[in-house]
Structure formats: structure tokens, C-alpha cells
């Protein structure tokens, strides 16, 4: 026969809280196991008794038990726990015994030893309790902090959505808001992982945030082609600049933003081109590149650590699978606590017969 049903599971079964398959298992086991049906009956009877359906006996019995219990509980105790051993050994019976002096002495010694032992155990338990209480407090505090940051992220997302709906935003601003929302979400997710052992943490809210970020991203994709024309030219003069390797012969050595079209000529066999990064100063921790087609469909993304790019203008990123047409290249600078849009460039890919 299967192992007996655990108490937790049995209680869940009684409350109708088990999933169907598990419920079936429990039913099957119960039909075969007397011990578990007995326990189930006891549980049922105890529930009924707790609800008041119980035959009370003599009050003296109840009072006697309380008197004895109250003596053993800490509120009656000064510094160290009582010698509970004395209660356990049942004093009346002890008194009834005729003890020789030697056994009495031995017993006293044993009792003394036992009381010292209980005191040590009690002290250890008390320390453990203090430790646990402190841990609980810390957890509650951290949980509250996580809740606050979640709420903040939500507020910012809501604000971003509201302002998007009411006023025509520049794509740049939209990007910044999205980046901020993503950052908040990442932080919230991290917190939620840290506290996932706490059943009270609302992972549902993280999920909701994820959905919202996805919405916002979808919105960005649909709005990007229209908005880019109306948007402010993106200032890429500060910070790193980007060039297309092998394309430097065109009118500008660096990629031009603000809606200008950068021509990319590649051999028709190659289907790839290379972006070189000129890192003058202020390198980011990491760079993220994203190539999208006219419809906003992401074709390729790549990340490069800033350190790998620094001082080596030749480090490059290759993009494969290119047909002639219009594309958009985004470059973001990533720091652990923020994401900055560095440039958005329109590219026109032209192929020429291989020389």
C-alpha cells in the first residue's frame, strides 16, 4: 500500500483543496487504509468538537489542567524556565515512594542535573526565538520595500501610458520611459525572486508589469515609423559615435541620426555589414544593438561589453540575412541601473554585384 496520507494533505482533502488527481489518490488510499480513515474521522470529530459539539466533563478536571499548565508557561516564570521535570515526574507518586537516603540523594542530583540541562535548553531556545523574530522582521521590511518599488514601477508605467495616450510623444521620450519601466520591472522581478519563498508576495503583479511592458513595446513598434519623422533629431554628438565599416566613403564618416538615411552598400553575396564603434570617452558598461525592419520587426540584436569595445575601434558587430531595403538600427548604452538610448539610425541597404 502507498505511504500514509500526511496530516497536511488530509486536512487539504477535508477542505476540498486538492487537485482532482491527488484527491483520487487520497480516496483510493482511504478505501484501503484503516489508519488514515481513523485519522480522518478524528479530524472530523475534532472540527465538530471545536465548533461546540462536544460533551464537556467535570469542570474541576479542566481547572486542574489549567492550574498546572499556567505554572509551566513563561509568563509565570522569572528568569529561567521552571524545572518542568518535577511536573513530569508527577510529585504525588514520588512522595508515595519510600526512598532510601541514598536513592533520594541520587534523585536530587539527577533532578539538579536535569534542571540545569532544561535551563540550558531553554536559554538556547530563547536565543533561537530572538534570532527568528529578527529574521522575520527583516523579511517583512524587505517585503515592504519590494512592494514599494513595485508600486512605484506601476505608477511610472501608468504615467507613461497616460502621457502616451494624451500627447504625441517623441519616440525618444517614449524610449526613455520604456527603458525606465523595464528597469523598474527588472528590479521588481529580482525582488520577487528574492522573496519567492514568501507565499504572500504577489507574483501576479510582476506578471502584470511584464504584460504592461510588452504592451508598451508593442505600442513603440507600431508608433515608431510614424513618430520618427516628427521626433526631435536625436543628439548623438555626445558620447560614442558609430560608423559603418567600409562605408566611410559616403558623405559622413559616422552614422547620422534624426531620420536621415544612411546608405549601406554590401556585396549581394555577403548579406551582412559591420558596425564599428568609435568610443571617444564615457564608455558604457555594455552596448546593445538592435536591427529592425520597416515594420518594426526585430531582425537581430546583439550585446557587447563596453570593455571589449574600449580603445579598439575595430571591434565589430555583424548582421546577417539582409535583403536590400530600409532598416533601422538602434544602439543603447547599458548600465546596471539604467539604459540610455544612444542613437537610432535609418539605414538603406543596397546590394551590388560582388567585385
Amino acid at each position: 500500500m502507498d505511504a500514509h496520507i500526511g496530516m497536511k494533505r488530509l486536512i487539504a482533502y477535508r477542505q476540498g483543496a486538492l487537485p482532482p488527481a491527488e484527491r483520487e489518490d487520497v480516496q483510493e488510499h482511504l478505501s484501503l487504509c484503516k489508519r488514515c480513515t481513523d485519522l480522518l474521522r478524528e479530524l472530523r470529530d475534532f472540527e465538530a468538537a471545536s465548533a461546540g459539539n462536544v460533551a464537556a466533563g467535570p469542570e474541576s478536571l479542566q481547572n486542574e489542567a489549567w492550574e498546572s499548565l499556567a505554572r509551566r508557561l513563561p509568563w509565570k516564570v522569572p528568569a529561567i524556565r521552571p524545572v518542568t521535570g518535577a511536573d513530569r515526574l508527577k510529585a504525588p507518586r514520588l512522595r508515595a515512594l519510600r526512598l532510601s537516603v541514598a536513592t533520594a540523594a541520587a534523585l536530587v542530583l539527577a533532578l539538579l542535573g536535569f534542571s540545569v540541562w532544561t535551563a540550558i535548553v531553554a536559554q538556547r531556545e530563547r536565543r533561537e526565538l530572538v534570532r527568528l523574530e529578527r529574521r522575520l522582521e527583516e523579511r517583512e521590511e524587505a517585503l515592504a520595500a519590494a512592494r514599494r518599488s513595485l508600486a512605484k514601477a506601476e505608477r511610472q508605467l501608468a504615467a507613461a501610458r497616460a502621457s502616451l495616450a494624451s500627447s504625441p510623444l517623441s519616440l525618444h521620450e517614449l524610449e526613455i520611459q520604456l527603458a525606465e519601466a523595464k528597469r523598474q520591472l527588472a528590479a521588481a522581478r529580482l525582488e520577487s525572486v528574492r522573496f519567492s519563498f514568501s507565499p504572500r508576495f504577489e507574483t501576479g503583479r510582476v506578471h502584470e508589469l511584464e504584460t504592461r511592458v510588452a504592451d508598451l513595446e508593442a505600442l513603440r513598434r507600431t508608433q515608431a515609423p510614424d513618430r520618427v519623422a516628427a521626433s526631435q533629431p536625436i543628439d548623438v554628438s555626445i558620447g560614442p559615435r558609430f560608423a559603418l565599416r567600409g562605408q566611410e566613403t559616403s558623405e559622413n564618416a559616422f552614422l547620422r541620426g534624426g531620420g536621415a538615411v544612411n546608405t549601406v552598400e554590401i556585396p549581394d553575396q555577403a548579406k551582412s555589414f559591420t558596425v564599428a564603434v568609435s568610443l571617444a570617452a564615457g564608455a558604457f558598461n555594455e552596448y546593445r544593438f538592435e536591427l529592425t525592419d520597416r515594420d518594426g520587426q526585430v531582425l537581430w540584436t546583439g550585446r557587447k561589453p563596453g570593455k571589449a569595445l574600449l580603445g579598439d575601434a575595430g571591434t565589430s558587430v555583424s548582421v546577417h540575412g539582409l535583403d536590400p531595403g530600409l532598416y533601422r538600427l538602434r544602439v543603447e548604452g547599458l548600465e546596471p541601473d539604467r539604459t540610455q538610448l544612444l542613437g537610432e539610425y535609418r539605414l538603406e541597404v543596397k546590394t551590388s554585384p560582388h567585385p
Binding site: M7, I11, Q27, S31, K34, L39, G52, V54, A65, R72
Partner: protein
């Protein structure tokens, strides 16, 4: 019971916040003393042992009150503590017995035979299986029951081997008594068809 107006949850709330601890704990004690007493008594502990075990249970409750966060129902939490306390006492008793010490316990029955006094359903229950059927037929019956559809065989097992009435089967399996009735009716037909003469004179 119930002369105190506070709900168990309110008492627990106050205990956790440490306000009026002793009074609150007394209320809790009064509320659960007799349910616990009857529970231990049902497990065949003597009155004196019941008193000890109740105290032990409440000591554990007192120590654990900080950790009880209200995910479970209070009475379920108490029941778990009480059942663990009882099991521990039984283990302790067994160990003491092995050590050859004098264990002043009455009613010591490790098999956990049915409660003294029997259930109120005993009168309606059929006569023991052994008296009605030979060993061979009993085994045949057992196999036939195992071959029945899930719900049906569970009902039949509880009825035939555990001699439960419809309501009790329904309570154990958490289904309605009418379902039990229907399942048993169908099972009777199927078993009669399968075993025929062998089952003559046996009904459940």
C-alpha cells in the same frame, strides 16, 4: 462552550500581538480543552495521561503561536499539534516498554482496535465477512472488487471490509450519500453477475 463571545481567530490575533496574553490563552484553553480531551480519550489514553497530553499540546501551541500566521484554520493547526503529541507519547511508551520499565498505562493496544463502545452504526452493519464466506470466496470477492471502476470499488471496500454505512462512506470519500447508494447498487449487480452462487447468502 461558546459562552465567550470571541471567535478563535480573534483570540489568536490577540495572542500574536501579545495583548492580554494570559487571558487570551485561557480563552483558547477553555475553547479547546474538551475537544482535545475527547480526542486523546478516543486514542485510549487514561484521564491522567489526557491531562498531561493536553498540557503538552498547549505548551507547544504557546511556543508556536508566533509562527502560526493564519494560513491554516486554527483548529486544524491545533489538531496537528495534538496528533503529533499523541504519536510522540505512543512512541515514548513503546520505548519505555522495550526498556523494561514500568509503564502505568491502561488500555494499551497498539493495534488500535475500534473504539470501546463501538459506533452507533454497529447494529445496522452486516455480520463479519469471515462468518459468512469461506477464505477462497473472500479472496475471489476481493479480486472482483479490485476490478470494479474506481469510485465503485472504493465504496464497496468501505462497505464490505470496513462496514461503514452510506453516510459514513460519503463522508470519507467526500461524495454525496446518493452517489454512494447508486454505486453500491451497481456494484451489487456486477458482483452477483461475476461471482453468482459463490455469493449466495451474502449481502452488503
Amino acid at each position: 462552550m461558546g459562552q465567550q463571545g470571541d471567535s478563535i481567530e480573534e483570540i489568536f490575533q490577540r495572542l500574536r500581538h501579545g495583548t492580554g496574553r494570559e487571558e487570551s490563552f485561557r480563552l483558547l484553553f477553555n475553547r479547546f480543552y474538551w475537544p482535545l480531551f475527547r480526542f486523546f480519550e478516543h486514542r485510549r489514553f487514561s484521564t491522567e495521561e489526557c491531562q498531561d497530553l493536553i498540557q503538552e499540546t498547549f505548551l507547544r501551541v504557546y511556543r508556536g503561536i508566533e509562527t502560526f500566521r493564519g494560513e491554516a484554520r486554527c483548529e486544524h493547526w491545533l489538531f496537528r499539534i495534538a496528533a503529533n503529541t499523541a504519536s510522540k507519547a505512543v512512541r515514548h511508551r513503546a520505548a519505555a516498554k522495550r526498556a523494561g520499565r514500568d509503564v502505568p498505562l491502561e488500555n494499551d493496544d497498539p493495534e488500535g482496535a475500534p473504539t470501546a463502545g463501538g459506533s452507533p452504526l454497529a447494529a445496522a452493519a452486516p455480520a463479519p465477512l469471515e462468518r459468512l464466506l469461506g477464505k477462497e470466496v473472500r479472496e475471489q470477492l476481493s479480486r472482483a472488487i479490485d476490478g470494479l471502476p474506481a469510485q465503485m470499488r472504493r465504496c464497496v471496500r468501505l462497505r464490505v471490509f470496513r462496514e461503514m454505512d452510506y453516510d459514513e462512506i460519503a463522508d470519507v470519500l467526500q461524495i454525496s450519500p446518493s452517489t454512494v447508494k447508486v454505486q453500491l447498487f451497481k456494484a451489487r449487480k456486477r458482483l452477483q453477475m461475476e461471482l453468482g452462487e459463490a455469493l449466495a447468502g451474502f449481502d452488503f
